[in-house]
């Protein structure tokens, strides 16, 4: 083969594979656009202020999704209230106190493994421990505790990243002035790490809000058109509501529009939470650059 022919062949191979890669990337983007298009077009017809703020009526064939939305907000907030203090504590240990060694390796291995445990196994665990053994029954608190354990690895990782972003000089300055380790952490490290931790927590919140499998086992109610007043009550939740409307309802065709509306509200909620998290992160990143 001549040199020119060789180069031509190389060029041909290259453009072929680059086209393949571009094509797959285009499919990825196209799939995402399609998913949004489908949900937005289907949901836009039914979504309205009254759809969001009304109780479901006539066995969910009419009315709105208010208790499901409130239930999801309650369970997610409760989840975060439990998991964030624990996760930040664990991150402080890993980043500020621990010396690299066997224990830290074991902790990190456990965190990675916990993040790979299927959500339904968390559900089973929560059902057995919180609902049955602790006697909470299927309830808001049992579901929140289960979700809290599930999002814990993400909260820890997020908080650790926030701590790592605090410059070393802050710590050294504090210690040099005679602060104890805890004084240094509380007064210098934590205040600078709070925005990053907020970002991680809101991402955890979004994850808890969209999760269905664990709450099926630990507390979500099929149809309960009231707002829960106590953490030991069952609750409706947006993702479970969507599951019910899509597959379990006796008249799935009649409730299809409501299912679309529920899906759209759920997606919007999750995207809103993620956007807030990213906004906080970017805002403080820029602010810290000025310092």
């Amino acid at each position: 083969m001549t040199n020119a022919a060789l180069t031509k062949k190389k060029r041909y191979t290259q453009s072929l594979w680059v086209t393949v890669c571009s094509l797959f990337t285009a499919i990825t983007v196209g799939t995402l656009l399609f998913l949004f298009y489908w949900i937005v077009v289907g949901g836009a017809e039914v979504i309205s202020w009254s759809f969001i703020t009304q109780m479901p009526e006539q066995n969910m064939t009419a009315g709105g999704i208010w208790p499901a939305l409130v239930g999801t907000v309650y369970v997610s907030l409760l989840t975060i209230a439990i998991s964030v203090p624990l996760g930040i504590g664990a991150a402080i240990y890993l980043n500020e106190y621990a010396k690299q060694g066997r224990l830290v390796r074991l902790i990190r291995l456990s965190i990675r493994n916990l993040s790979g445990v299927p959500s339904i196994v968390y559900g089973l665990f929560g059902l057995g421990l919180f609902a049955a053994t602790f006697g909470f029954g299927r309830s808001l608190i049992a579901a929140a505790l289960t979700l809290a354990i599930m999002v814990l690895p993400w909260v820890i990782t997020g908080a650790e990243e926030a701590l790592k972003a605090v410059p070393r000089s802050f710590r050294e300055g504090g210690l040099a002035l005679g602060a104890t380790r805890w004084q240094m952490i509380r007064q210098l490290v934590l205040p600078s790490a709070i925005p990053g931790m907020a970002t991680g927590s809101i991402l955890g919140l979004a994850r808890a809000a969209g999760e269905t499998a664990p709450i099926i086992l630990t507390g979500a109610a099929y149809y309960l058109p009231i707002i829960p007043h106590d953490i030991k009550e069952q609750f409706m939740a947006l993702p479970y509501h969507l599951y019910i409307l899509a597959t379990q309802h006796s008249e799935t065709a009649t409730v299809r529009p409501i299912a679309y509306g529920t899906a759209l509200v759920l997606i919007l909620l999750v995207i809103l939470l993620n956007s807030v998290a990213i906004f906080i992160r970017n805002y403080y990143r820029r602010k810290n650059e000025w310092l």
Binding site: F24, L35, I92, Y97, L177, G178, L242
Partner: protein, 330 residues
């Protein structure tokens, strides 16, 4: 910051001798507080280990009744699952096969899809396009699985029914297609990370020798990132096999063995309704009587699932560490 010992020294004595010991002296309460906080954080730090042990221990404790009564071999090799019959049977083999089928099916789609996309984002796309594509992958990852299940139900299942001429489109194939979308962000982001971690001097050396862009990708980047890319596939497997809502809504959930006989061979039947390990727990776990044998049997199913994901994730972990080690040593 308070420095009590130094202050008293200055106030009370004329000839001030500040030793290092006095400088670092703090009040008893401060020291005690610091000590207690350290222990508290140690406790919180080790929480992850305790939770993991608690989950394992709890699965074993709650599942032990069924394991003793039914036996592990019946669970793994038994072909029928009739928990509420008068003579209950607890064979989870159909669920195990179904889980593996939909997961492998999903990976057949998601692996080329994810890896080619990762190559494009990491190696081919210009910087601005790259910055636009990263959020796309992130948004995929936040899609609630129940919404994807809903899409599978209303969009993919009728297509599958039409294409294959089935009366019901809720099959293993339907579940595999939607599951590939679930596994995609995991595969793309891990594969992309490992491609990005290939040192640029590797590539620059090859360019200097006259290699084309694709030759560099094929002969330098992909081999160097091999472990990481395999890890991405393993993590995708773990993600897909543990996924509940999408398969629950898309796979149809029949409890029979998903097999057919073809030319005298027993082969998996992808065009039939299947029930995975995860879906079975979700379906039966919500109304099972606590403490019953059936309840205990569900924990054994959970145990099987836990063991599968644990092994897969562990292998992925080792592979990622191996790549890190290899690229550092070179």
């Amino acid at each position: 910051m308070r420095l009590p010992s130094l202050k008293t020294n200055v106030e009370s004595t004329q000839s001030v001798v500040v030793t290092k010991q006095k400088l670092t002296q703090k009040s008893f309460v401060t020291n005690l507080g610091d000590y207690l906080m350290e222990k508290l954080f140690l406790l919180l730090g080790t929480l992850a280990i305790f939770i993991l042990l608690l989950i394992v221990g709890f699965l074993i404790r709650e599942g032990s009744d069924a394991l003793r009564e039914v036996g592990i071999s019946e669970f793994i090799f038994g072909q029928s699952w009739y928990p509420s019959s008068s003579e209950p049977r607890y064979g989870a083999l159909p669920f195990i096969i179904s889980s593996v089928m939909v997961t492998v099916g999903a990976l057949l789609l998601a692996v080329p899809w994810g890896i080619f996309t990762a190559i494009f984002i990491s190696e081919i796309a210009p910087k601005r396009l790259k910055e636009m594509l990263k959020p796309v992958v992130e948004i995929f990852a936040i899609f609630p699985s129940v919404v994807l299940g809903f899409i599978a139900l209303i969009v993919i299942s009728p297509i599958v029914a039409n294409v294959f001429g089935l009366s019901n489109g809720l099959t293993a194939v339907t579940a595999a297609v939607i599951l590939s979308v679930m596994a995609l962000p995991t595969i793309i982001s891990i594969a992309e990370d490992s491609l990005n971690s290939v040192p640029s001097d590797f590539k620059e050396g090859a360019y200097a020798l006259g290699a084309t862009k694709w030759e560099v990708i094929k002969n330098i980047s992909l081999p160097a990132a091999k472990s990481g890319i395999i890890a991405a596939v393993m993590l995708g497997f773990g993600r897909a096999v543990g996924e509940t809502m999408t398969v629950l809504m898309a796979a149809g959930n029949a409890i029979d063995m998903p097999i057919q006989h073809f030319l005298g061979l027993t082969v998996p039947d992808f065009l039939t309704s299947v029930r995975t390990l995860t879906a079975n727990i979700a379906i039966e776990g919500s109304d099972v009587a606590w403490g019953s044998l059936h309840y205990s049997a569900l924990f054994v199913v959970g145990m099987i699932l836990f063991v599968i994901t644990f092994i897969v994730n562990l292998i992925a972990d080792l592979l990622i560490n191996r790549q890190r080690g290899a690229l550092r040593n070179d």
